[in-house]
Amino acid sequence: MKWSEMFTSSVGKKWVMALTGLFLIIFLIVHAGINACIWANDGGTMFNKAAHFMGSTVLIRIAEIGLFLGIFLHIIQGYMLELQNRSKRKQGYAVPMGNKGSKWYSRSMALLGTILLMFFILHWWHFWVPARFIGHEELTEININGVHMHNMYNLMQFTFSELWVVLVYVFACFSLCWHLVHGFQSAFRTVGVSNSKYLTLIKNVGIGYSVIISLAFAMMPVSMYLGWV
């Protein structure tokens, strides 16, 4: 098999989707873990320290490049697959099959992914772009134990003081949950896990993971808007 077949053969393309998907699944655990520091109830000190560590550590900055490569590969390959798959049936059915045999979210990965992509653009504009490049008037400097760093906690509180932003984030987390419920177990199937004892375990762990991760992310803007932290 040539390397190019990872991107040209039908099964190779699925492997790329699955491997990048699993990578992003691991990333989400790190992201949720760091952000959960806002619930330390210490005025954001622990969160700011964690965010500063992520932003100032060379290895993590290198990993960030890998993260963006992974995200864009997943997005581009996903759209290519969707377009190619749609073109395989020029004439459709008069009576669609609907939910007879498959779940709506398993057939809607591209739609859910598109919602997530639109959310990411907003999300990067809210936090990543100000922190890396252009700054923000609410992104103040703070001194913790003699170390100067961005007060990301302050920017978060400012961003999540608007109701529409909170609602958009919660809706995105809802989409994320359904995207993950299918994606988690589908990725393992694609990389060849065919033993039924593992598939049952993976399916249940996948549902648990999807709900916990999405709920954790959704509760962050909600907690800030309602003044719980």
């Binding site: 459709g92 008069a94 045999g101 177990q185 199937r189 060849g192």
Partner: protein, 254 residues
């Protein structure tokens, strides 16, 4: 169950040939027995059409006992009709009641072009089999049937995969028109047996390459294929094929 008769309305896809544009035609059918099979009901309608001097509805069928894989109708939004693990020929009219409307369409996929009415060209499946769905056996005296030991679990799993009759319902049901349930059943059947060992790698690579060439889509694990498969082929076979393909591909020199 007690016998009853019914009157039905059929909406059937009619298409003169491969190149013409088809359309639905509506036919009322009367006095259909609940004990008839679905294809016998079409036979009754066709006899009437012939008596009226009209062109009968063309449809594929052969054994009419659920083992050959020839029949292929997409009935009310489901390949092979409403029953689980069932072929169209084994669907019986007791599944319907008086006054029902039944919409009958051919399999839809670019790789399965409509030849006439409900008949589609499934020779793409034959070419996938020709690409690797076989084992090469040297001529000579026959090997004793029990000379090669096979583990019972593997034999059972291979047998379950070999139950695939190649009807194409998996393609018809898949939103991506993917043939992966069919291909994975054929690959699994041989990969699980010692006789399939020598050509194991080239088989997985060649059959997937031919499947792509024929214009089938990629699998996205929705499970629709498994739900409509008349032989209950499991999508665990697809996961096995994914592994076979990558092991063969990653382990090759080129």
């Amino acid at each position: 169950m007690e016998h009853y008769s019914m009157n039905l309305t059929l909406k059937v896809w009619r298409q003169k040939n491969k190149d013409s544009k088809g359309a639905f035609e509506t036919y009322p059918v009367k006095n259909i027995s609940s004990e008839m099979s679905f294809l016998e009901m079409i036979d009754v309608l066709n006899e009437e059409l012939i008596r009226e001097g009209k062109d009968p509805i063309a449809f594929d069928h052969d054994c009419r006992e659920g083992i050959c894989g020839m029949c292929s109708m997409y009935i009310n939004g489901r390949p092979h009709g409403p029953w689980q693990q069932n072929t169209t020929c084994q669907l019986h009219m007791r599944a319907y009641k008086d006054g029902d409307t039944i919409v009958i369409e051919p399999w839809r996929a670019n790789a399965f072009p409509v030849l006439k009415d409900l008949v589609v060209d499934r020779s793409s499946f034959d070419r996938i089999i020709q690409a690797g769905g076989y084992i090469s056996v040297n001529t000579g005296s026959a090997v004793d049937a029990n000379a090669v030991p096979v583990e019972k679990d593997n034999a059972d799993a291979a047998f379950a995969a070999a139950a695939c009759i190649g009807c194409g319902a998996c393609v018809a049901a898949c939103k991506n028109s993917s043939a992966l349930l069919f291909v994975s059943a054929k690959v699994s059947h041989l990969a699980l047996l010692p006789q399939g060992g020598p050509e194991r790698k080239s088989r997985a690579m060649n059959m997937v390459a031919q499947m792509d060439k024929e214009g089938f889509g990629s699998c996205t694990n929705t499970g629709a294929c498994e739900a409509v498969c008349p032989k209950g082929i499991s999508i665990e076979n697809i996961a096995r094929l994914n592994r076979e393909y990558m092991m063969a591909g990653a382990g090759s020199d080129k």
